[in-house]
Assembly symmetry: C2
Homo-oligomer: 295 residues x 2
């Protein structure tokens, strides 16, 4: 994003940045607006710097017997200096929910998959795919380098719905931790599920330490829903304890508002609240969202 056009209260149209590839004049207000969840202004136009679409892509899947081995493979890819276009994982009941439709062969005992994609120019993508496959292979039951990317990502897109269909509903939360703490987060998600009597599973953007941690429930079971809310609280506490964040990609909104202070620290929250007041002194924009109110 190189620029934004934004309407600020009470109704001023302001451009921040623009169609420039480099611009460091002044404080970066544009970045303050990006991801601000509508609490500072209404974004009406965006200037983007685009990259060309990749010529070719190759998908690689590693299958693992344990969370530890799967997360070791994610670390092997990142530590090896490889930069895949995608580095996802899926484990436990989430994998079980979609295993029968997997567009390839799953080895016996597979409890954790790493899904990677190499992309780039046609002549080079094969080499990157081989390097990723090699890194994934160190702890794997099996590595599939020949899987069709289109079929794999279509299958991956079905995970969320298939998990929800197990009991009729799920509560999924997007948390992120340092990559070295991802295995601990995934194991802790299962421990939290057990504590609250809810089946649990995780999938997400493993190479970024980003997990969609999920608890399954019957939507008609209000006691289970209450337990799921408590489980989510424990999940956020765990992510923070592991040096992580309550949101890797989806923001704060209402649901995580009361956990923001623990995630970013009280000083940051005070500054955020003050900045909110600067931009929107009457509190008109997306009231109550993203920043906890004064205690």
């Amino acid at each position: 994003v190189t620029g934004l056009e934004v309407v600020l209260p009470p109704g001023r149209l302001v451009r921040l940045g623009g169609g420039l590839r480099k611009d460091v004049a002044g404080l970066d207000l544009k970045r303050l607006l990006i991801g601000s969840e509508g609490i500072l202004g209404v974004i009406t136009a965006v200037y983007l710097k685009l990259l060309p679409a990749p010529e070719a892509s190759r998908a690689i899947v590693g299958a693992y017997g344990t969370v530890e081995e799967g997360c070791a493979a994610l670390e092997a890819v990142v530590a090896g200096g490889l930069v895949p276009a995608t580095l996802d994982f899926i484990e436990g009941p989430a994998l079980a929910a979609v295993a029968s439709r997997f567009p390839g062969e799953l080895p016996s005992g597979a409890a954790f998959l790493v899904l990677a994609e190499a992309d780039g120019v046609a002549g080079e993508v094969g080499r990157e795919a081989e390097e990723i496959a090699e890194a994934l292979g160190e702890t794997a039951l099996a590595v599939d380098e020949k899987i069709d990317p289109g079929a794999l990502w279509a299958w991956r897109d079905g995970v969320s719905g298939a998990v929800a269909a197990q009991l009729g509903a799920k509560v999924s939360e997007d948390v992120a931790v340092p990559l070295g703490a991802l295995a601990a987060l995934i194991e802790a998600t299962h421990a939290i599920g057990r504590d609250h009597g809810l089946p649990s599973c995780s999938w997400g953007h493993g190479g970024d330490g980003n997990s969609h941690a999920s608890f399954l429930l019957d939507p008609a079971d209000s006691a289970a829903r209450a337990r799921a809310e408590a489980a989510v609280g424990d999940l956020f506490d765990t992510a923070i304890e592991l040096g992580g964040s309550i949101s890797g990609e989806h923001g704060v909104g209402y649901a995580k508002r009361d956990y923001l202070r623990a995630s970013v620290g009280p000083e940051s929250v005070v500054l955020q609240r003050q900045i909110k007041r600067l931009f929107d002194p009457k509190g008109l924009l997306n009231p109550g969202k993203a920043i906890p109110t004064d205690e």
Copy 2:
């Protein structure tokens, strides 16, 4: 930059972000601090996400008879979806000042050079270099694909000093415009130089529309120095008229402070000043820099 540790007035140590590859919890205060020129806080530690060093690199130089042709070549590279590691230019008296030491052959009539570098894995860099050479060739007098990258960048590093040595001093300013306006900026720099009786030239990061526009002068000539200051003011006005910025990479400081309002607009300056007061209500940090004082 994934995180900062920063001391905020009057002496609070605050961490913004950290060792996380993804984190969107709350407003992005980290980005507000980056490039803030010390006016909001003192940065004491930085968390970085690193990319592996490229395995191999290739340099490509295109030589052009005119500014228009050289800028057309820059646009051909960017419009072709190529993403070179470097895409610089050097023209006019700046080129003349270092032409005799150029580590290759310059064709007769060369007034503008484009210096590009392809980097990446060993097997692929040749192909990218060829594609860049092809794009550069459309309007070129000559393209050199065999030049040694180390020798080229060592030569390039001498440009600023060699330009200053022509008359003993120079005033160089870092401005940026949309890529399609770079030729107009370079020609306007020469027109401004003529208006103020100062030799002028430009070089910089052409692929980003970023120019180091320079006016040459005798350091003992105080009248010339006053004319150079006026020329710089005209340069900033021109960059802004062309839809550009008064700073592509070096920030605002004192020198450009009074041009910030014209560059980013009065609304942005008001917000920046208010944010400065939030972070540093007593105005202790780098006073007088980066943001114009109230008028």
